[in-house]
């Protein structure tokens, strides 16, 4: 099938086939979207019936978010058709999508609400921002208008209080109530439980049940298998921009994950229990509690081992990394490094002791903008070790260049030399520089938070290869939200969510999903 097809032709096809399904509310047919040379969606076909909860699964880059953005009117499709309630659906903007009957609750609550405004005003925000709304709506009227919206999601709070006083879970309900205000026929929930505890997530799902009965279709994007098990009537799995499976209940989640990553789940490379008992672990945590409300957990990491801490975005993985690195404090519990108590007071402490962290989102956590004079490969690599290398203050550029030349070799960084500016490198090579930085001095414990973020497949293979080659020198913890990445790099994968560790009863990774 061609990728660019005349939408009108497809409209005919879609109208012809719409009848045989039990009147789907939304039908996507041969939906295609390209960004430059990247094909984000290729001939995606999917239909959703009223009152149905369809879970959308897929690894990073499978095209989930592109599909959601087309449905919610952020992007226009390049080819294919969308039909909503029997009519062609082509929203020109998110507002149009809402008016046509598709409302979206986005993952980031912070982007959707105004904490300083009252809860009532937040509930009515779309209405207040509508140019057609009256120039003045008295507060009492606003509260009255907001009350039914709040009660629909079971939000029993003082609506005149500022939104910022609510818990994150209740703020989530506010965004849900706002989405429901437009009486949508399809509700898209993008990772709705990412920042919620188990109890809060259950509360949210309980609010969704009545919608199902009202005939509102729900498209649920989630990485949490618990969410899917609780809510999904069907699981649609995407890979490489197309639908690869459409599973009906009872759903075999192991099979689902295998379909999602496109190959069987491998056995873990080493047995978890084998080495743990005999040696002093390089790093160990006992009864570690990251936040006052999270569950305490234990963790042991041996020298020579790469352990992947896998779990959803917002599940607290970065917090664990930063706690070990001394950038935040744990609520309680103890950590040990090579058998000695480990309680770093700052990243500087950690770096001195050989505990290195390559943070997530390289431009935020690791790299310097081009206005910084030494934002070159050499300057970026040497920065954490300036006080170690140049005790007397004067920086000898020859020293850092030599280190950079080595790193360029080891990591296969494509560049013209150690003085290349970081902004001149491709994303994959920038990420290699970030990782190479923490290899120029020997590490005892290396923490890598989302090391494959924004990295293409080739660079990812290079990085995995280098990490594995150097793994014997130290203990390595890799924090990733993508299970496929975890499996690719690690000896052992543990599941981390809601700021706590879920221990694996067996070495088989399938246990992750039980």
């Amino acid at each position: 099938m061609t990728q660019f097809t005349d939408p009108d032709q497809h409209a005919l096809v879609a109208d012809g086939t719409a009848a045989d399904a039990a009147a789907p509310i939304l039908t996507a047919h041969a939906l295609t979207k390209q960004f430059g040379a990247t094909i984000a969606l290729s001939n995606l076909d999917l239909s959703i019936r009223p009152g149905e909860v369809v879970a959308l699964m897929g690894a990073n880059g499978a095209g989930k978010s592109t599909f959601v953005k087309i449905l919610s009117g952020v992007y226009a499709a390049d080819g294919g058709t969308l039909t909503l309630a029997g009519k062609p659906y082509r929203p020109a903007s998110p507002q149009a999508a809402k008016q046509l009957g598709i409302a979206t609750v986005h993952q980031s609550i912070a982007d959707a609400v105004v904490p300083t405004l009252s809860i009532a005003d937040n509930l009515l925000l779309d209405r207040l921002c509508d140019p057609a709304s009256p120039w003045r709506v008295p507060p009492a009227v606003r509260r009255e208008a907001a009350a039914p919206l709040a009660s629909r999601v079971g939000l029993e709070v003082d609506l005149s209080a500022p939104l910022g006083t609510l818990s994150l879970a209740s703020q989530q309900l506010v965004t849900l109530a706002r989405a429901l205000a437009s009486q949508p026929r399809l509700l898209i929930l993008d990772e709705p439980t990412a920042s919620l505890s188990a109890a809060e997530a259950e509360r949210l799902f309980a609010r969704l049940e009545p919608l199902r009965e009202e005939g509102v279709a729900i498209l649920l994007v989630s990485h949490r298998l618990g969410d899917l098990r609780r809510m999904a009537d069907r699981v649609a799995i995407m890979r490489d921009g197309r639908l690869v499976a459409d599973l009906q209940p009872p759903i075999d989640f192991d099979a689902a994950v295998e379909t999602m990553i496109g190959r069987p789940l491998p056995q873990a490379r080493t047995l978890e229990a084998a080495s743990a008992a005999s040696l002093t672990p390089c790093f160990s945590a006992r009864e570690l509690q990251l936040t006052p409300t999270s569950v305490a957990f234990d963790l042991d990491v041996q020298r020579g081992e790469i352990v992947a801490i896998a779990g959803p975005v917002g599940g607290g993985k970065s917090r664990l990394a930063r706690t070990i690195f001394g950038a935040t404090r744990a609520s309680s519990g103890a950590m040990k490094l090579d058998g000695k108590p480990w309680s770093p007071r700052s990243p500087a402490d950690a770096i001195r002791a050989g505990v290195f962290l390559a943070g997530e989102d390289r431009w935020r956590s690791s790299l310097f903008p081009d206005s910084v004079p030494f934002a070159s490969i050499a300057g970026t690599l040497s920065f954490p070790f300036l006080s170690r290398w140049f005790k007397r203050g004067a920086v000898r550029e020859a020293t850092e260049r030599t280190a950079a030349v080595d790193a360029i070799q080891t990591f296969g960084i494509r560049c013209t030399g150690p003085d290349d500016r970081l902004t001149r490198l491709s994303g994959g090579n920038q990420q290699k520089v970030v990782l190479a930085r923490w290899h120029v001095e020997p590490a005892r414990l290396l923490l890598l938070d989302e090391p494959f973020q924004g990295v293409d497949a080739g660079a990812r293979a290079d990085i995995v290869d280098t990490l594995r080659r150097h793994a014997h020198e130290r203990a390595t913890l890799v924090f990733v939200s993508d299970l496929e990445e975890a499996l690719e790099v690690a000896d052992r994968v543990v599941w981390f969510d809601r700021a706590t560790l879920e221990r694996l009863p067996t070495s088989n990774l399938k246990a992750l999903h039980s």
Binding site: G36, A37, T38, I39, A40, N60, G61, D240, G241, F325, A327, S346, P347, A348, A350, I351, R352, L357, G359, W363, R364, S365, S366, L367, F368, P369, D370, S371, V372, P373, F374, A375, G379, F383, P384, L386, S387, F390, G393, A394, V395, T423, R424, S426, G427, G428, G454, D456, A457, G458, R460
Partner: protein, 354 residues
């Protein structure tokens, strides 16, 4: 398989070869960004020298430098804080109150020149610490914290003398008459000329410029300061004690500004309540013009000093050509706006590449 992100050519030189005409235009622009301000400075000097030969007189040139030295000193302080991602707006007030403090020590307390200088530097360090702690501990935004300090010090310096300027014979608020004098040793700080030609303030400026350039450009301390200005999170996660460095930047700025105050007092020979009136804007203008020098596109000490000299040459030349004095502030305003426009347009261009 994951979609492969195509590597985007960063500009015309990477990726496809740009057309020759376009490349020439771009290299001309790069060239102008690099040398533009120095070129304009050279043209100014030539124009002034042809119109008024006395402009090139050695005495005149050094008097320009002497006039510029205090602004340039303050500008160095501003530059250091700008490099650390902050902005010290209090330098003018620090200099002015240091100047009053020096006079007070000399005239009211009959202190020595050394005591007066020490008092000034202590005042500058304390003001810098105050700024730094407001910013790092209480998390007041840099500009607002230093703006607060600006008003605080501008008001504070008026209190001991009851709002009067301070010279030998001034009657103090408690009714006594101040009987101390500015000692020759102290006055020499502002008036001594090496070989009867080079004024001491110019020598101090040169020494501090060299020192600050070395620290900012070639040591790890300078690197950490620039790193904090570029991305404080990245600097902290790489182990830099960022709060301490930011405080240090403000302390350095305060100390340098107070030294400027000493030089003002030594030149004027009395404690003048209206001194330091336009110092802040001149210093900020110099620091921002410094972004444009030699294509640095960032705060840099050398550029700041060039910027200060640029303003000095322009004002001196225009005065010699009988431009009315009341035009001066307007001209400085125009220069500041041009410098700001240049700085921020360049900043945006570099960001969009990242």
């Amino acid at each position: 398989m994951k979609p492969v992100t195509p590597s985007i050519p960063r500009d015309g030189t990477a990726g496809e070869p740009a057309r020759p005409a376009l490349r020439n235009l771009r290299s001309l622009r790069d060239h102008l960004e690099r040398t533009g301000i120095l070129l304009v400075l050279a043209i100014l000097i030539v124009v002034f020298a042809t119109k008024e030969p006395a402009f090139l007189n050695l005495d005149n040139l050094f008097s320009i430098l002497q006039a510029v030295s205090i602004v340039a000193l303050l500008g160095i302080g501003v530059t250091i804080t700008l490099a650390a991602g902050g902005f010290d707006l209090s330098v003018g007030s620090v200099a002015a109150s240091a100047q009053m403090a020096a006079s007070y020590v000399l005239i009211v307390w009959h202190g020595s020149a050394l005591a007066a200088v020490t008092a000034c530097v202590v005042l500058g360090v304390v003001a810098g610490l105050f700024n730094g702690l407001l910013i790092t501990r209480l998390r007041v935004p840099d500009q607002l914290a230093t703006l607060g300090t600006l008003f605080l010090l501008a008001g504070l310096q008026l209190i001991p003398t009851g709002g009067r300027s301070l010279a030998t014979g001034t009657v103090l608020p408690d009714g006594t008459e101040a009987s101390g004098v500015f000692s020759d040793a102290f006055l020499a700080l502002g008036r001594f000329r090496l070989f009867d030609v080079v004024p001491l303030p110019v020598l101090i400026l040169v020494a501090l410029t060299v020192l600050a350039c070395i620290v900012m450009e070639t040591t790890r301390w300078g690197r950490v300061i620039y790193a904090i200005g570029g991305n404080e999170t990245a600097a902290r996660l790489a182990g830099a004690p960022t709060a301490r460095y930011r405080i240090a930047a403000y302390v350095a700025s305060g100390a340098i500004a107070s030294l400027g105050g000493v030089l003002i007092a030594a030149r004027v020979g009395r404690g003048d309540v209206s001194a330091g009136h336009s110092l802040l804007l001149d210093a900020v203008a110099a620091a921002l013009m410094g972004y444009a020098v030699w294509g640095a596109k960032r705060p840099n000490v050398f550029g700041t000093v060039v910027g200060a000299v640029f303003v000095g040459v322009l004002l001196n030349g225009l005065t010699m050509l009988n431009a009315p004095y009341y035009m001066q502030d307007f001209i400085k305003g125009v220069l500041l706006v041009l410098a700001l426009a240049f700085t921020f347009s360049v900043g945006r261009r570099t960001d969009s590449r990242g």
